[in-house]
């Protein structure tokens, strides 16, 4: 699913990384625990999270992720935006809850990937 389509489905504001809008991302992982996100090393994933800290962006950087969605009106700080920009990570912000954001993406065919063996 293209990042632009993800933004549209989630009615999300794209805060940075517009250059990634045309990128295709195959899978998603949703968690507020970065420890759980780090368990799988597949870079072809969208991170959906309510944890809005600089370590969220750093985790995306370490995992080579191309886009992060902050749910429930979380506002990334300028420092977070800067780190994301430097590392080519798109930041999307939506007012949707975690549950609804995941539900909408799932409905549109986005599958999860969270385990080390590449399953959901």
């Amino acid at each position: 699913m293209k990042v632009s389509q993800i933004a549209q489905i989630l009615r999300a504001e794209v805060r940075c990384g517009e250059e990634n809008l045309d990128l295709d991302i195959s899978y998603a992982v949703a968690s507020d625990m970065m420890s759980d996100v780090l368990v799988c090393n597949d870079a072809d994933r969208l991170l959906i999270t309510g944890l809005c800290t600089v370590h969220t962006v750093l985790t995306a950087q370490i995992l080579d992720l191309r886009a992060v969605v902050f749910v429930r009106s979380k506002r990334p700080t300028p420092e977070m935006i800067e780190v994301a920009q430097q590392n080519g990570i798109a930041i999307l912000c939506t007012d949707m809850s975690m549950y609804n954001a995941c539900g909408e993406l799932y409905k549109h065919g986005m599958k999860g990937r969270a385990r080390p063996d590449g399953t959901d």
Binding site: D32, A43, L58
Partner: protein, 147 residues
């Protein structure tokens, strides 16, 4: 096999202060940039960065402070993570997924699920951990560059 200094492409040691969660991850991010510049395969870089990040966060949240050393050879990379305590009483237990003594405030920051040590083992090609209560823990990880 003995290695001579001549074979070392790059080596660096950096300190991690006790409780410095805010800065934790910076060393691992810098490894990532450095290894990319050296042209290391991106999948290996990612595995190393994940293992290093887990180790770096552990140093900040679980230890009295420590250091991370990276040694790059033409055909493999070593990562040595050492701390000065408190040590791990039961390594087998600590290595189990889900075992964590991380305090609530660390969990609020997105860490402390008890996944880090097993993840380091999974991401590295060789993994060794030794620990002594009172004196500290040493983790040695190896990453092959040629398959």
């Amino acid at each position: 096999m003995e290695r001579t200094e001549k074979e070392t492409t790059y080596q660096e040691t950096r300190r991690v202060q006790k409780g410095d969660f805010a800065a934790a991850g910076q060393i691992s991010a810098s490894y990532k940039n450095m290894l990319k510049r050296l042209g290391v395969d991106s999948k290996v870089v990612r595995r190393l960065a994940i293992a290093s990040y887990e180790a770096e966060i552990n140093l900040a949240i679980h230890t009295l402070g420590g250091s991370m050393t990276i040694i790059v050879y033409p055909d493999h990379i070593f990562l040595v993570v050492e701390d000065t305590g408190p040590g791990i009483a039961d390594i087998a237990l600590a290595m189990q997924e889900g075992y964590s003594t991380a305090p609530e405030e660390v969990r609020m920051l997105g860490f402390g699920a008890g996944m880090g040590l097993p993840n380091m083992k999974r991401c590295s090609d060789t993994f060794e951990i030794t620990s002594e209560l009172g004196s500290g823990t040493t983790i040695r990880m190896g990453f092959n560059l040629l398959n």
